[in-house]
């Protein structure tokens, strides 16, 4: 699963071999794993947790944002 985290100032994070992403959705926290169905959702303030197998999880603080999942590609537009 591919992941892109983009903010207005920079491309924050890119990786190809993501195992799991945990996100702060407006309706509560949720996770996305490989082969997730297409999804568009709004995020609220909180932490994004990115897990790559065999590595420590990475965390990113966001103020809010949008996520799009399509064909195993996750795009997060964060603020």
């Amino acid at each position: 699963m591919k992941l892109n985290i983009i903010t207005p100032d920079a491309t924050l994070f890119t990786a190809d071999n993501i195992h799991l992403v945990q996100l702060p959705g407006v309706g509560g926290s949720f996770e996305i794993m490989s082969n997730h169905a297409p999804l568009i959702s709004v995020l609220k303030e909180g932490k994004i947790k990115v897990v790559i197998k065999g590595q420590d999880p990475k965390f990113f603080d966001i103020q809010g944002g949008v996520i799009e999942v399509l064909n195993n590609k996750v795009l997060i537009l964060a603020e």
């Binding site: 983009i6 903010t7 207005p8 100032d9 920079a10 491309t11 959705g25 407006v26 309706g27 949720f30 169905a37 297409p38 999804l39 568009i40 959702s41 709004v42 949008v66 799009e68 399509l70 064909n71 795009l75 537009l77």
Partner: protein, 298 residues
């Protein structure tokens, strides 16, 4: 043939001017680098955001209910003109001003006649010009170009959106220079509000995509649209300002580069005429000495 002293003074003055233009070029170049990275970083974000919005609106049938994309009769027009605070950047400002005037004359002559075309000027050069002429300038925001901060620009975008939804204005346009590279800027006139539906080809593309991708919307489409549209508009305005700022620096850099080159040419010419003048005085002096010697002999 100008005198030696005059030529020497001119050479000195051209040389000092050249130093100034060269320094301004350097300053513009370093500012350009900063502005360029800023706009180049923002662009993918803005592009992706628009993509998501298009995917979204293509799967919503009744998007006309959305207050931001509702077309009304264009009675009251607002135009946001983005120029620069400082001069000495070639045709940058005059191009923007000319384009704005032309735009008003061709698109909204009737509304202009009635005084229903208002302007918001960003950049001192534009605001000075339009305030002097009989344009209806409702706001001057020269300060935006000094700080270039997203949160401050957002406030203006917020205000524009409110003015549109409150029906103060029926149409809002932005006119600015888009940054292509240091030497080339493209004049852009885009409609800020109401939101123009995606062009036909992008629409069909989005529909094709939709066939393959049946999106899950979380929590629901309307909420997402409500969140997404103001966000897109804020980014759009901010991008326009960053674009314009980078273009300004690029235009100034090229203008100053040309000025420095011109000064170089001028210096060469002056140097030649200086050398000629010097040579002829020496020749004259020798002639005088020879003549004097001849006279003594005789």
């Amino acid at each position: 043939m100008p005198g030696l002293k005059e030529v020497r003074i001119r050479i000195a003055s051209v040389r000092s001017t050249q130093q100034i233009t060269n320094a301004m070029k350097m300053v513009a170049a370093s500012k350009l680098r900063k502005a360029q990275t800023a706009i180049l970083k923002l662009r993918p974000y803005a592009a992706k955001l628009r993509e998501i919005l298009q995917n979204l609106s293509s799967s919503i049938e009744n998007s006309s209910e959305n207050t931001f994309s509702k077309e009304r009769d264009p009675n009251k027009i607002l135009i946001v003109v983005i120029a620069s605070n400082r001069g000495l950047c070639g045709g940058f400002n005059s191009n923007i001003i000319k384009a704005t005037q032309e735009f008003i004359e061709t698109r909204y002559p009737a509304q202009f006649e009635k005084g229903n075309v208002s302007l918001i000027c960003i950049g001192r050069k534009a605001s000075e010009f339009f305030s002097k002429k009989n344009y209806h300038v409702i706001e001057v925001r020269d300060d935006l170009l000094d700080s270039l901060r997203f949160d401050i620009v957002s406030l203006l975008a917020e205000k524009l959106m409110k003015a549109f939804t409150d029906k103060e204005y029926d149409r809002i346009h932005i006119i600015y220079n888009q940054f292509k590279n240091a030497a080339v800027q493209r004049l852009i006139m885009e409609q800020f509000l109401p939101i123009v539906p995606a062009a036909q080809e992008t629409k069909t593309k989005a529909i094709e995509k939709e066939v393959t991708a049946d999106y899950i919307f979380e929590p629901d489409k309307e909420t997402i649209l409500r969140e997404l549209i103001p966000k897109t508009l804020r980014i759009q305005l901010f991008k326009a300002i960053l674009d314009s700022f980078a273009s300004e620096q690029g235009a100034r850099m090229t203008a100053m580069q040309k000025a420095t080159d011109n000064a170089d040419d001028l210096l060469k010419e002056l140097q030649i005429s200086y050398n000629k003048a010097r040579q002829s005085t020496i020749t004259n002096e020798i002639l005088e000495i020879v003549n004097g010697a001849e006279a003594l002999k005789g």
